[in-house]
């Protein structure tokens, strides 16, 4: 990148973070009353809303019905005002179709779909504000929404992107940093299982291990934050649930 120093000599990044530091994550579960589950999550300036409907009877063509497990249906879209330059369409372009597919695969790995044969689970995520790491923020928000809907999962799914600059892995990239070769990982943190791995640019194979290591650490960091959010939500929501 010409003219833009992503990592200063002192080891600080553009927004003043250290190389392994995550952006501030704030989240809330149960944002909407009509959906089965919903969550809002912001990671730095990237903000996403996730909504879950289901499990419910298959809609539309019954041919998609799976007789041994639930079908997961995802739609990723971006608000037209979410990016710096206004978008013309919220969804339906190639990038968001790909993103929807990735989300679907990620959550098929985590949700215990075999418990709900012949039904369908809808996961819809919407980026309200985009500043890098859209995929990861969507996964994190959707995880919270799925938990809010009471759908059984093996574990949380946490995602994070990492980049590689000056021989140093950078965790949780913002938009300005996304130009470097980056790796997106979705992790089931307790078992250390990888639900999705995506690498978009060239990287020397020797560096891959270090980068993976950094990504896993970052994902575990995210999982800690999500864990706090869920526990907090549980405490709040469960207090009055116990009555004589």
């Amino acid at each position: 990148m010409a003219g833009l120093e992503l990592l200063s000599d002192q080891g600080y990044r553009l927004d003043g973070r250290k190389a392994t530091e995550l952006r501030k994550v704030q989240a809330r579960m149960g944002v909407f009353a009509q959906a089965d589950g919903s969550a809002y999550l912001e990671q730095g300036n990237t903000r996403a809303l996730a909504v879950v409907y289901g499990p419910h009877e298959m809609r539309g063509s019954r041919s998609r019905t799976l007789h041994d497990r639930a079908a997961i249906n995802c739609q990723y879209s971006m608000a037209t005002f979410s990016t710096a330059e206004r978008k013309r369409r919220p969804h339906g372009d190639r990038k968001s179709t790909e993103m929807s597919l990735h989300l679907k695969q990620t959550f098929e790995a985590a949700i215990m779909t075999q418990l709900y044969p012949r039904s369908q689970i809808d996961i819809y995520v919407k980026i309200l504000q985009s500043d890098g790491g859209n995929y990861s923020v969507c996964v994190n928000a959707a995880t919270l929404a799925v938990i809010d809907a009471g759908i059984p999962m093996r574990d949380y799914v946490c995602a994070c992107s990492v980049g590689f600059v000056d021989e140093t892995p950078l965790a949780d990239l913002c938009y300005a940093e996304e130009s470097v070769s980056s790796l997106s990982v979705a992790l089931l943190p307790r078992g250390g299982q990888i639900a999705l791995l995506q690498m978009d640019a060239r990287l020397h194979q020797d560096h891959l291990e270090a980068l993976m290591e950094a990504a896993m650490t970052a994902c575990k960091g995210v999982s800690k934050v999500l864990d706090e959010v869920v526990r907090q939500h549980l405490q709040e929501a469960a207090v009055l649930n116990v009555c004589p």
Binding site: G30, D36, G37, G54, P55, H56, E57, A70, M112, Y116, P117, R118, S119, I147, D148, A149, G150, I151, P152, M153, R154, D155, Y156, P189, R190, G191, D227, V230, R231, H233, L234, Q235, E236, A237, A238, V239, L240, N241, V242, C243, P244
Partner: protein, 293 residues
């Protein structure tokens, strides 16, 4: 004409006793509940490496050797004998499909309903053709879970005079986990209305029927106007239900009645304002605690 506009506020949690918070029986997905293999795996758990692990976020419930995790909010997981309120979505051959907030539509077989003419009436081919006259799409029914199919869908029956098609009234859809399991889910409240607290979270509020209405097999519904007084009671109960649900208070006849009493000093339409909701839910909580102690 009134338009109440305001800035949003950060929600407060209402807690009567501080000791209730920081409970230890709350788990999140992936939490290991026990590594003792002597326990049985129930809903909301799975076994991973001989360790019983939670798969949903909620509270752990232990019945003898069976461990379940009950999520705070979920679709209806019906069991035999549960009372449900549901809406007909489809009329098929010899059966109705019913939306009951479950993960699959429930089924009401023609052979599981009482048709006009008494218990012993035989079902003829004509009945199959006139199914829509008894129940059509959109109609609400109360029913009981008769059995659960292997894929988890529920089979319902209305073979009792208390079940059947619902007439005039108001449906409130809430989370199933908020409804307390009780001996009876049909209540004639002393405030002048009746309620069916469906186990599936669908709550039906209706004017208390006068003398035992002429039964036409449960398919006759009165379309006579409901009196204004009854309407006010029903509307108040509806808003009370929503207030209790918003603050996650367990729903049963007493909690609903206490909430109703606490709300009497407010106008019906004001109950849903956040501050009024907080106030009356607090009062309800206090009353419930007093009754307990």
């Amino acid at each position: 004409m009134a338009a109440d506009m305001r800035l949003p506020r950060v929600r407060k949690t209402l807690s009567v006793s501080e000791s209730a918070s920081h409970r230890r029986d709350l788990v999140v997905p992936g939490d290991i509940i026990t590594s003792d293999t002597g326990f049985m795996r129930g809903h909301g758990t799975y076994v991973d490496d001989d360790k019983l692990t939670a798969s949903v976020a909620g509270e752990v419930q232990r019945v003898d050797k069976l461990i379940c995790v009950r999520p705070l909010k979920t679709r209806f997981n019906g069991e035999v004998g549960d009372v449900v309120v549901g809406r007909i979505t489809e009329v098929q051959q010899k059966r109705w499909k019913v939306e009951t907030n479950s993960r699959l539509d429930s089924v009401l077989l023609l052979s599981s309903v009482n048709l006009p003419g008494g218990e012993l009436r035989r079902r003829s081919a004509e009945d199959e053709l006139t199914m829509r006259e008894y129940l059509q799409e959109g109609d609400l029914i109360s029913a009981e879970v008769q059995s659960v199919f292997s894929d988890g869908a529920l089979s319902l029956h209305t073979r009792s005079l208390k079940y059947g098609k619902l007439g005039q009234g108001v449906l409130v859809q809430l989370s199933p986990s908020l409804v307390k399991r009780q001996k009876t889910h049909f209540h004639n409240l002393p405030c002048g209305a009746s309620v069916i607290l469906g186990n599936n979270g669908f709550v039906w509020l209706y004017p208390t029927p006068g003398q035992q209405e002429e039964e036409a097999g449960g398919f006759y519904t009165s379309l006579e106007p409901v009196s204004l007084a009854d309407r006010e009671v029903i509307s108040r109960l509806r808003n009370c239900l929503l207030a209790l649900a918003a603050h996650k208070v367990l729903l049963f006849d007493t909690s609903l009645l206490y909430c109703y009493e606490s709300s009497l000093q407010h106008q019906v339409k004001d109950i849903l304002k956040p501050e009024v909701m907080e106030e009356i839910v607090m009062l309800t909580q206090q009353k419930l605690l007093e009754q307990e102690g």
